[in-house]
Structures are given as structure tokens and as C-alpha cells.
Amino acid sequence: MEIVMSVAIGLLFMAAVYLMLSKSLIRIIIGTGLLSHGAHLLLLTMGGLGGTAPPVVADGVTVSDYADPLPQALILTAIVISFAVTSFFLVLAYRAYQELGTDNMELLRGTEDYE
């Protein structure tokens, strides 16, 4: 299972890098979304996918049966943060498009202001 997850994470990272190298701003934002999804899955996989019982002390449940709760707590935090950042990025992109009149990163270099 870990191998399958690793391949999925690799594919997500690959797609993210491809999208982020494009010129269109909206593709870049989708790329950042995929990148954080990849990072979150990595976090989940690295904690180990074993464990069937919930991490609560009960009769007949030994330590080896527990699912590790920490990666789940971490991933939840990371998802909330990336959700907030992505929504901020989308609003920023919209405002920038309104003000600057383009979403092409080639045209947003801004080198003309300083020599």
C-alpha cells in the first residue's frame, strides 16, 4: 500500500511542477493545490498506514493495533492552512487580473521599474 501511495504522491508532485512552470496564473494556482495535496498524502504515508483500531485504550487492543493518530492531526492542520492560503491566492489572482489586466506571468516580470 505504501508503494502505491508513493507513486500517487510522485504523480501529484510531477503534475504540480508541470502546472507551476506554465505562464497562466490560474494553472499555477491549481499546481500549488496539487503540490500541497502531494505533501499531505506524504505526511499520511510517512506515519505508516498500518493499524486498524482507533487510538483509544480499550480491552483487547494492543499497541500494535493502534492507528497512529499524530499524522492525522498534522494533516488536518496542514489541510486547513493550505485551504486558507489557496483561497487567498485565488482572490489575489483575481484582483491582480483586474488591476494589471493580464494573468500571463511573462508580462508580470516587473523589471521595468528598477534598472
Binding site: S36, M46, G48, P71, L74, V85, L100
Partner: protein
């Protein structure tokens, strides 16, 4: 166990939340914001005296035993940084009132500054690597709001790039934390410091250490990851730029210093060697930029990068002189960078431009301002007895005691280039033929100049009174060099 370590984090958070309730009431906004920062400063001072008397203070949230709960740890190093970041924020707030503009003040400028402070102080205080990620996100979110605040065209353009770079580095941060967790099974920094020496797979840990260096290197603007900094920092108004220049990169530097002294010490022959080489390259790259531009903002921005290199070179030596020098220089750099940004801010207001070639002859009309600028410039370059000198001296000494004497030679040589880059501003702006200047009324000028001058005076005091500060700096260095002090304080609660 005392909760004191949490106060510099929680107080600005509460005040920021209160400030969001009445964005349009200008005087209330100013008063509450300054009150909030002053309260934070008071709590930081109490914490400082507590740490200097009783040693490292650790709190574990929810009273869970240490590796399970999230630890907040205040040792001398972190409390010194909390103190200096709070002082810088206070003076920048005083400077913002006349310069930032009523429109910005009424659209959540002060809450954003206080949220930024929450994140910065939290990042300095936390004792858990994932919690460090969360606090860095808090301060980044506030910095996104600040960098685009006002919505001018260059700001919008540059904040897209700033956001993108930081999102990528955050994703790498999460990945690095994941790898670290899978290898060690813990994320508490003190617990990591216990577990990492017991792990035999040094190779994979070295990879993780370098990955963390990349992550923090993005924030700290080390070579070759500093490419985003000059453009992004150029866009926002001067008060925000001063905050960013003084605080944001320093969080990255702090994170590198903490992780590379506390637990990534299993393969210093590779990781710290790499850090030393990168630090020297960072200094050189910064010098090229600082000398290449005729724009006052750009010159000081590139000086941020140079200082990052100097500090990291000191820490890479891992000996008492180098580490103490780095700590001293870090505190000095926060104060002097803020002061210099505020000074060139006044320059750009007076001349109405930030281009050096359109300036000149200011020494006749503003003599005191000119001499204050010269003192700050000398302080930055490290001319004794000003505040850049003791830190740089110790760092250079650390390099000679260690294996990197060539690095110390580079630092000594580039000090001259730093001096040249800032004295060039002085020569162009204050000497020569007077040019037409914007007339600003006396009161407005003083409201900008007084907080700046006090900040410069503080750096002079820090340099001239270095003997007074050195005991604290050596305390801080001791904890960095003996991780057992840190570990005991956290795990024996």
C-alpha cells in the same frame, strides 16, 4: 512550570482580534495597537528577567507530558529575539502613524502587524517542529496581507511571486516534517535531540537536514534561494518593508540556527561544511547586489542578504565564539536593519524618489538626520564601538578557531564593501549640490525622525554597552552549544 513563555505570543493575538472589531476608528486603532505592543514588550521583559534568573522556561500545552504535548520553550536565545522583535515592531508602529496613510490604517493594517508579531514570537518560542510550521504559516499569512496591503500595481504583481515561493517552501516543509517523523517517530525538538543521536541511519538524516536547510533557506534568503527577496520586498511601503527586513528573514535564520545546533548535529562534516560554503556565497551575492544598484531601497535590501550570510557562517563553526557572535549579530541586525529602512524611508519622503542619482546636498538642511544616518551606516558595517562590531569580531574569531579561516577573510573583506554600499548613500544624498526637495512640515518630519533616531540610539547603546549584553549572549550560546540544557528543561518538567 510557568505560563510566562506564552504571553508574548498570546497578547498580540488578543489585541489583533480586538482591533478587528472597529477598523474605522483611527485613534482607537493607533492607541490599542501601540498598547498591545507595549504590553507584549512588558511581558517579554518579565520573561527575559525570569529566564536570566531561573534558566530555560518550558511550557507543555494542556499539561501533557513533554514529548506528547506541544512544548513552548523560552531559552535565552529565543527570549532575546522575542525582545528585539517586539522593540522593532513598537518603533515601526510609531513610524507607521505618520507615513502609512489613513486609508491603510483603516483597513486592518494594525491587526495584520499584530498577527505578524504573534507568528514571529511564536516561531521564536515554540519547541515543536510542526508547531514551528504552524507559526511560520501564521506570520506568512499576515505578511501576505501586509505585502499586498493598499493594492498598488507593483504590490499586486510582486505579492503573487512572494506567495508562490512561500507556498512551495511550505509544501517542502510539510514533506520534510513527514520524513523526519517517519525516521524518528517524534516532532518535539527536545525529544528529537535525544532520539537522533541514537539512530544509525546517518545518511537519511543528512538528507532530511539538507531538506530543512532548503525550506528555511527560502525564508532566510540564502544563496541561491534569495532570488524572490529583492523584488518582493521592493513593493510594499517603507514601514512594512522595515518590519519584513527586520523580522521575516530572521525567523528563517533562527530556525536554521536552532535545528542545526540542537539536533542536526549527526554529520557536521557535511551539513555544517555546506552551511559555511552557502553562507559565504550568500555574502558575496548580497555584496554584488548592494553595490550594483542606485536605488536606496535596493541597497539596504541586499544588505539583508549579506547579514544572513554572516550570521549563518558564525553558526556553521559550532564553537563558542562563532555561536555567540551569531546571536549578537542577529540581535544587532534586527535593530539596525529596521533603523536603516526607516532612515531611507525618510530620505525617499524628502526627495520624493528612491533613486540616488536624483538626490544631493541634504546635509545643509537636515544636518542631524545626516549624522544619524552616518552613525547607522557605520553601525551596519561594524565599525567599533558600534553594534555591528562585537558580533562580527566574534564570528571572525570563530572562523579562525574553526576550519574556515578563508570564510573569516571573506567576511572581513566584504565588511568594506558593506561600508562602501551604505556610505555611497550618504555621499550621494547628503553631499554635493543641493537638489530640489519636497517641503515637509516640521511636525511631520519629527514624527518620522524621532522613533528612527531612538532606534539608532538603541543600536549605539547595544554596541557601546556590549560588555553589559555579553553575559546574556553567552547564556544563549551555552544553551545552543549544550543541547542537554534544553533537553532537560523540556523533558524533566
Amino acid at each position: 512550570m510557568s505560563n510566562l513563555a506564552l504571553f508574548p505570543v498570546v497578547i498580540p493575538l488578543i489585541f489583533a482580534a480586538i482591533l478587528m472589531l472597529f477598523p474605522k476608528k483611527l485613534h482607537m486603532q493607533r492607541a490599542v495597537a501601540i498598547g498591545g505592543v507595549a504590553a507584549t514588550l512588558a511581558s517579554a521583559l518579565v520573561l527575559f528577567s525570569k529566564v536570566s534568573n531561573d534558566g530555560v522556561q518550558a511550557v507543555t500545552l494542556g499539561s501533557w507530558p513533554a514529548p506528547f504535548g506541544i512544548s513552548m520553550v523560552s531559552d535565552m536565545f529565543s527570549v532575546l529575539l522575542v525582545l528585539s522583535s517586539t522593540i522593532v515592531t513598537l518603533f515601526v508602529l510609531f513610524y507607521s502613524i505618520p507615513t502609512i496613510g489613513v486609508k491603510r490604517e483603516q483597513s486592518f493594517y494594525y491587526p495584520a502587524v499584530l498577527f505578524l508579531m504573534t507568528g514571529v514570537n511564536g516561531a521564536f518560542t515554540t519547541g515543536d517542529i510542526f508547531n514551528l510550521f504552524v507559526f511560520i504559516e501564521v506570520l506568512l499569512m499576515a505578511s501576505y496581507a501586509l505585502i499586498v496591503h493598499g493594492g498598488e500595481k507593483p504590490q499586486l504583481r510582486e505579492s503573487i511571486k512572494y506567495l508562490l515561493v512561500n507556498i512551495i517552501s511550505s509544501a517542502l516543509f510539510v514533506s520534510a516534517v513527514a520524513y523526519l517523523y517517519s525516521v524518528t517517530g517524534t516532532l518535539n525538538m527536545a525529544d528529537l535531540a535525544v532520539k537522533i543521536p541514537q539512530i544509525e541511519a546517518v545518511g537519511i538524516l543528512t538528507v532530511i537536514a539538507v531538506l530543512f536547510l532548503v525550506v528555511f533557506g527560502f525564508k532566510a534568503a540564502i544563496f541561491p534561494l534569495y532570488f524572490w527577496l529583492p523584488g518582493s520586498y521592493f513593493a510594499p511601503p517603507m514601514a512594512i518593508l522595515a518590519l519584513f527586513g527586520a523580522l521575516l528573514t530572521k525567523v528563517g535564520v533562527y530556525a536554521i540556527m536552532r535545528t542545526y545546533t540542537l539536533f542536526f548535529t549527526m554529520n557536521t562534516g557535511f551539513t555544517h561544511e555546506l552551511l559555511a560554503i552557502i553562507a559565504i556565497l550568500t555574502i558575496l551575492a548580497g555584496c554584488v547586489g548592494a553595490l550594483a544598484y542606485f536605488d536606496v531601497k535596493k541597497i539596504i535590501i541586499y544588505n539583508i542578504i549579506i547579514a544572513v550570510g554572516v550570521i549563518l557562517f558564525g553558526i556553521s563553526q559550532m564553537n563558542a565564539a562563532g555561536v555567540e557572535g551569531s546571536i549578537f549579530y542577529l540581535v544587532h541586525d534586527m535593530l539596525i536593519k529596521a533603523a536603516l529602512f526607516l532612515l531611507v524611508g525618510i530620505l525617499t519622503v524628502i526627495f520624493g524618489t528612491s533613486d540616488l542619482r536624483k538626490m544631493g546636498g541634504l546635509i545643509k538642511s537636515y544636518p542631524l538626520f545626516g549624522w544619524t544616518f552616518l552613525v547607522a551606516a557605520f553601525g551596519l558595517a561594524g565599525i567599533p564601538p558600534l553594534s555591528g562590531f562585537p558580533g562580527k569580531l566574534l564570528i571572525v574569531q570563530g572562523g579562525f578557531e574553526g576550519t574556515h579561516f578563508w570564510g573569516s577573510l571573506v567576511i572581513l573583506a566584504t565588511s568594506l564593501l558593506v561600508l562602501l554600499s551604505v556610505v555611497r548613500i550618504f555621499i550621494y544624498a547628503f553631499w554635493g549640490e543641493p537638489v530640489k526637495i519636497v517641503t515637509i512640515d516640521r511636525k511631520h518630519y519629527l514624527s518620522m525622525f524621532v522613533p528612527t533616531a531612538i532606534l539608532v540610539a538603541l543600536t549605539v547603546f547595544l554596541g557601546a554597552g556590549a560588555e553589559l549584553f555579553m553575559p546574556f549572549v553567552s547564556d544563549a550560546g551555552e544553551v545552543l552549544l549544550n543541547p542537554s540544557l534544553y533537553i532537560d528543561a523540556v523533558l524533566k518538567e
